[in-house]
């Protein structure tokens, strides 16, 4: 059959692109988690300046299109001497982008832990940072796994925009091959199928993590 033949012929050409999509997604989520945590804490301290900086960052990132952010980093920054490869620019850009959303996820998670927990910890003589690290974050972490997993999937799909700054990920590859073979429709469908498969795999991984956290509370309180 023609469809099977098509898939069989062209799928191997996507393997490097799939690998790049996975890498850029994972890197941008890891970077996003670090930025998100720092930003969430900055938003929650009593230091006004930090609150403002965090607010500004979140407002700018959530208020502008991702493609503008990526283009800015890849096409505009070289103008002031910062030249990054497309892959690095894409990972950093997506990381900064995800960070703003993850910051709000973390802030929500932290704020959902009752103040009684903080009071109990402080009344034992624990410092603010001990309280955060030992009492609040381990509980908040468990609550943010579902929205974080959701953000992971959004990040995976958003990584396609890195194609527009010349990263050879799945979407870009489908466009390139489609243009050169005049089979654009087939290639877009193939790209879509790869995204669908990756999203499904990521969802399964996220669910596994949720389950593990639920059944081994003990371990997660010992990590931090």
């Amino acid at each position: 059959m023609a469809v099977l033949e098509f898939i069989k012929t062209y799928s191997p050409l996507f393997l490097p692109a799939i690998w790049i999509t996975i890498q850029i997604t994972v890197l941008s989520i890891l970077l996003g988690i670090v930025i998100g945590l720092v930003t969430a804490l900055a938003k929650l301290t009593r230091v006004k300046l930090l609150n403002r900086i965090a607010d500004l960052y979140i407002t700018v990132i959530r208020g502008t299109p991702l493609i503008v952010q990526l283009s800015f980093i890849y096409f505009a920054l070289p103008g002031i001497g910062i030249e990054l490869s497309a892959f690095v620019a894409g990972s950093i850009g997506l990381g900064i982008h995800n960070g703003a959303y993850i910051a709000e996820i973390f802030r929500g998670g932290i704020q959902s832990i009752s103040t009684g927990q903080t009071e109990a910890a402080r009344s034992l003589g624990m410092t603010q940072s001990q309280t955060m690290r030992r009492i609040i974050l381990p509980q908040a972490l468990r609550r943010v796994i579902p929205p974080l997993g959701n953000q992971f999937i959004i990040a995976l799909k958003d990584s396609s925009l890195a194609g527009l700054i010349t990263v050879n990920e799945i979407y870009m590859t489908s466009r390139r091959l489609g243009a050169s073979t005049y089979q654009q429709m087939e290639f877009y469908m193939l790209a879509g199928a790869f995204y669908l498969i990756l999203v499904t795999l990521f969802s399964v991984v996220v669910q596994k993590i949720e389950k593990t956290l639920e059944t081994s509370k003990r371990q997660s309180s010992e990590i931090l």
């Binding site: 009684g116 402080r122 009344s123 003589g125 624990m126 509980q139 997660s220 309180s221």
Partner: protein, 244 residues
């Protein structure tokens, strides 16, 4: 000569425009048990929370163990670790087992080796009758058991003073007794305690003094017998007639 463990002098606290504590002055001596009663909103919780600096009083003096505490100059974590607090809603750490709850303070704050902390923790759990629950998570416990764990957790820091804020008012009636028994036990061992409670039986049995609070003021003080049997102030009389 022994110092009072707590001395408050003209303590005043506002929440915005709301004047919640008005010129509170009192002393609690070592091994003394004092009980605070008063209507909801009269400032009892706020008073306890000012003593361990969970709330900051704007005016007046707080002396702990003969030393005036200036919240801006003092390391409040050091002050707090010697003052245990037990809350109405327990506030156990749900992601930790009973034993982990109990040793968290000693291990993290005092730097006690885990092994020592566990041994001492086990003794405390025996003291509150929960040695068989050491490896359970709080969600598996009844309210009375949770509160006894909370007491053990506070005691693990070897406090010089224990604050109790309505420790039995969130409990089903049949579970109140087990918590009060642990508290009575503690009082008999010589612990200094400041307790907000309307449990008259408890107050009569172990309290030296009862303070009646009304709109942020202490308007009557006396032995439990004096306050409960022959209150002088009309507001005290009215309050007691309502809760009896």
């Amino acid at each position: 000569m022994s110092q009072p463990i707590v001395k408050l002098k003209n303590l005043n606290k506002w929440f915005g425009d709301l004047h919640v504590l008005r010129d509170i002055s009192l002393e609690v001596d070592p091994s003394e048990v004092v009980v605070f009663i008063g209507a909801s909103g009269s400032g009892k919780s706020t008073l306890l929370r000012c003593i361990n600096f969970l709330e900051e009083a704007q005016k007046g003096e707080i002396w702990i163990n003969g030393k005036e505490i200036n919240p801006y100059r003092e390391n409040l974590n050091k002050v707090r670790k010697k003052i245990g607090m037990v809350f109405q809603h327990f506030n156990l750490f749900p992601h930790m087992t009973v034993m982990q709850n109990v040793i968290e303070g000693p291990v993290q704050v005092t730097g006690t080796p885990r092994k020592t902390a566990r041994e001492e923790g086990m003794e405390l759990l025996e003291q509150v009758g929960l040695e068989d629950k050491a490896d359970e998570y709080p969600e598996m416990l009844s309210g009375g058991q949770k509160q006894r764990v909370a007491i053990a957790r506070a005691l693990a820091m070897k406090p010089e003073l224990m604050l109790f804020d309505e420790p039995t008012s969130a409990l089903d009636p049949e579970l109140v007794g087990e918590v009060l028994n642990v508290m009575k036990d503690l009082a008999k061992k010589g612990m200094t305690m400041a307790v907000v409670t309307h449990e008259m039986g408890f107050a009569r049995e172990v309290a030296e003094r009862v303070f009646y609070m009304d709109e942020g003021k202490i308007i009557e003080t006396g032995t439990p017998g004096a306050i409960f049997d022959s209150p002088q102030h009309p507001r005290t009389k009215q309050f007691l007639s309502q809760i009896l």
